[in-house]
């Protein structure tokens, strides 16, 4: 028990620009969130349970009743399931932030000299990393039930990238919800009503043309459908080829981030 252990003293801090610190802090927070994932790998498994059930249900239960004009239904279905996976995965961002808020961690972070944006950017990047793993798992499951990429490996990677980028943009929206609620349960409850119409009134599981006219307008142009169509274009090509959708999806994702990231950071500054 030496006298030097806890006593105050000048500490050395390396000199860096504010931006360099923001990057360093983001990496630290992302590391912290990924450690949790490594320590609780069941979180990764839980993240895939729901989409796997959807794959099985639509592939084997409803699939027979859904008629696709061109190609197999399972090929049509899987990009939709990928979108559903990243969309519901984005809820985790909000849940994680709500928990940090509830447990007082955000309060501590706010008393530290760290970059204000890092708690959010670190969290969303960690969730993006998690989504990469989940997506790879889902593709493997897709292959087991008959999904086959019709283009090439670049199409597959491109389709994944478009989807992951879209999922990343969504995490910023759910970050705001997480910071506006006080616990994980209400963050989850508040997120579902936003996601349900996006996921189900979309081209994920059925052809939009089969929906009533009033719904088609929404279902066709909402960002989740665009992201699905973009990854179908990249993964399946042929009749689904539509480069315009790929650019449109990237534009949507950039737009969502441009609007919601600053809002989330503002919300973070005021939270707790």
């Amino acid at each position: 028990m030496t006298a030097t252990v806890i006593s105050p003293a000048a500490v050395e801090r390396p000199k860096r620009s504010a931006f360099a610190w923001a990057v360093a802090d983001t990496k630290t927070i992302a590391w912290r969130n990924l450690v949790t994932l490594r320590r609780l790998p069941q979180l990764l498994v839980f993240a895939t349970i729901q989409p796997v059930i959807f794959v099985l249900m639509f592939r084997y239960v409803f699939g027979g009743a859904i008629h696709i004009q061109h190609g197999s239904y399972v090929n049509y279905l899987m990009p939709g399931v990928f979108a559903q996976t990243v969309a519901f995965g984005a809820i985790q961002t909000g849940i994680g932030l709500a928990e940090d808020l509830h447990k007082g961690l955000i309060e501590r972070f706010r008393s530290l000299p760290m970059a204000r944006s890092a708690v959010l950017s670190g969290r969303t990047l960690a969730d993006l990393t998690r989504n990469v793993f989940v997506m790879v798992l889902m593709i493997a499951i897709g292959y087991l039930v008959g999904f086959r990429v019709q283009t090439n490996v670049f199409g597959l990677l491109g389709g994944m990238a478009v989807m992951l980028f879209f999922g990343f943009s969504l995490t910023w929206i759910f970050a705001i919800i997480g910071l506006s609620t006080t616990n994980a349960e209400s963050a989850q409850a508040a997120s579902f009503p936003i996601l349900a119409p996006l996921v189900f009134a979309s081209s994920a599981f059925v052809v939009v043309g089969t929906m009533p006219g009033w719904l088609q307008g929404f279902a066709k142009y909402q960002p989740l459908s665009i992201a699905i169509d973009a990854s179908r274009s990249l993964m399946l090509g042929g009749i689904y080829s539509d480069t315009g959708k790929v650019f449109a999806s990237i534009a949507w994702s950039i737009g969502i981030i441009a609007v919601f990231a600053p809002l989330a950071i503002r919300r973070y500054r005021k939270a707790a």
Binding site: S7, P8, E12, D25, F109, S111, P113
Partner: protein, 332 residues
């Protein structure tokens, strides 16, 4: 001696609720200030402003001569905060938690590891260092929380109800650590609901209620204001208690307590009052059912200073200070 913390006419409102209504206090370097008050008094709000978490609405708030609004970053680099909750990550180990805070405090990576080892040993967490915090007891979490607040060797430490919810053993353990910190030169601002705690740790005590400072001084000075000793004389029935009060009223400020059976007497001359009480009762042939001598509690301080007990009276003032333990003593 210059002040490590200086607060003048500090004001903060949450909508229509005034949390701080012109609070003044100063903490000389190397001393401990105990900020005492019930839930919702404004203690946590003051700490949040001084730790740059909240923005004030008016007044002066300086830490180590730095204005918290003008240079929050400068303040953050030199303070430590341990809050009402053990704000540690459950899924990280003890050493990972300290690493996280060290990194986010912008310390050199090579200095964080030895510092973490040092602190974990010092707080008797070295054997649990590589275990996820999820497996820690409440006392261990609080110790880790305090260790995390010390990673960057802060000159000023803010402790917001550090022992609320701890068992007596955990409480005295934490007290000893805080004492040692102060001996080594750290300035501490401590909020608490327990007079005993402020008495034990603080060089100076500021009592706040409804956003106002209602008393200030050392523990001894505060107690002297209410009488150093309280005598509680219990009687068999209300009638006897009334007679008792008439008899004892001459010895000092006295009152009949809630149930009507107990007479409470405040005195400054310590245990000597017991002799006078017994003599006076004996003269009248009154037999007490019980006789207790005790030190004033926080409730007594509040009853004397404000006329109300130290429990929260309305729920809206709790807005920013939930989670504290309620005190349950019947109002007078």
């Amino acid at each position: 001696m210059d002040s490590a913390i200086r607060v003048e006419q500090l004001k903060k409102c949450f909508g229509s609720v005034t949390a701080l209504d012109g609070v003044d206090f100063a903490v000389p370097r190397g001393t401990v200030l105990g900020l005492l008050g019930p839930n919702g008094a404004g203690k946590t709000t003051a700490v949040r402003i001084l730790t740059t978490i909240l923005k004030r609405d008016g007044g002066v708030a300086e830490v180590l001569g730095i204005d918290v609004g003008a240079d929050p970053q400068g303040v953050r680099e030199r303070i430590g905060l341990a809050g009402q909750y053990a704000a540690v990550d459950e899924n990280l180990t003890g050493s990972e938690n300290l690493w996280l805070i060290g990194k986010l405090s912008h310390l050199e990576p090579k200095t964080i590891r030895p510092r973490a080892v040092e602190l974990l040993e010092r707080f008797e967490l070295d054997r649990a260092a590589e275990r996820p915090v999820r497996t820690y007891s409440g006392g261990m979490r609080r110790r880790l929380d305090l260790a995390a607040a010390l990673v960057h060797r802060p000159e000023v430490l803010f402790l917001d109800e550090p022992t609320t919810g701890l068992d007596p053993q955990g409480r005295t353990g934490l007290w000893r650590v805080i004492e040692e910190l102060v001996r080594e030169g750290t300035t501490v601002l401590l909020t608490t609901q327990y007079l005993e705690e402020a008495d034990y740790l603080a060089d100076n005590i500021v009592v706040i209620d409804h956003g106002h400072v209602i008393a200030e001084g050392t523990a001894a000075q505060l107690k002297a204001r209410l009488g150093a000793t309280i005598v509680e004389v219990g009687f068999a029935d209300v009638a006897a208690a009334q007679r008792g009060r008439n008899v004892l009223g001459g010895l000092g400020p006295s009152d009949v307590d809630g149930d009507g059976h107990t007479v409470e007497l405040k005195a400054n001359d310590g245990a000597r009052i017991a002799i006078d009480v017994v003599r006076a009762l004996d003269r009248e042939g009154l037999e007490p059912a019980s006789l207790v001598l005790r030190e004033p509690t926080l409730d007594d301080v509040f009853l004397t200073l404000t006329g109300h007990a130290a429990e929260e009276s309305t729920s809206d003032e709790e807005q920013d200070e939930s989670g504290g333990r309620r005190r349950t003593r019947g109002a007078a």
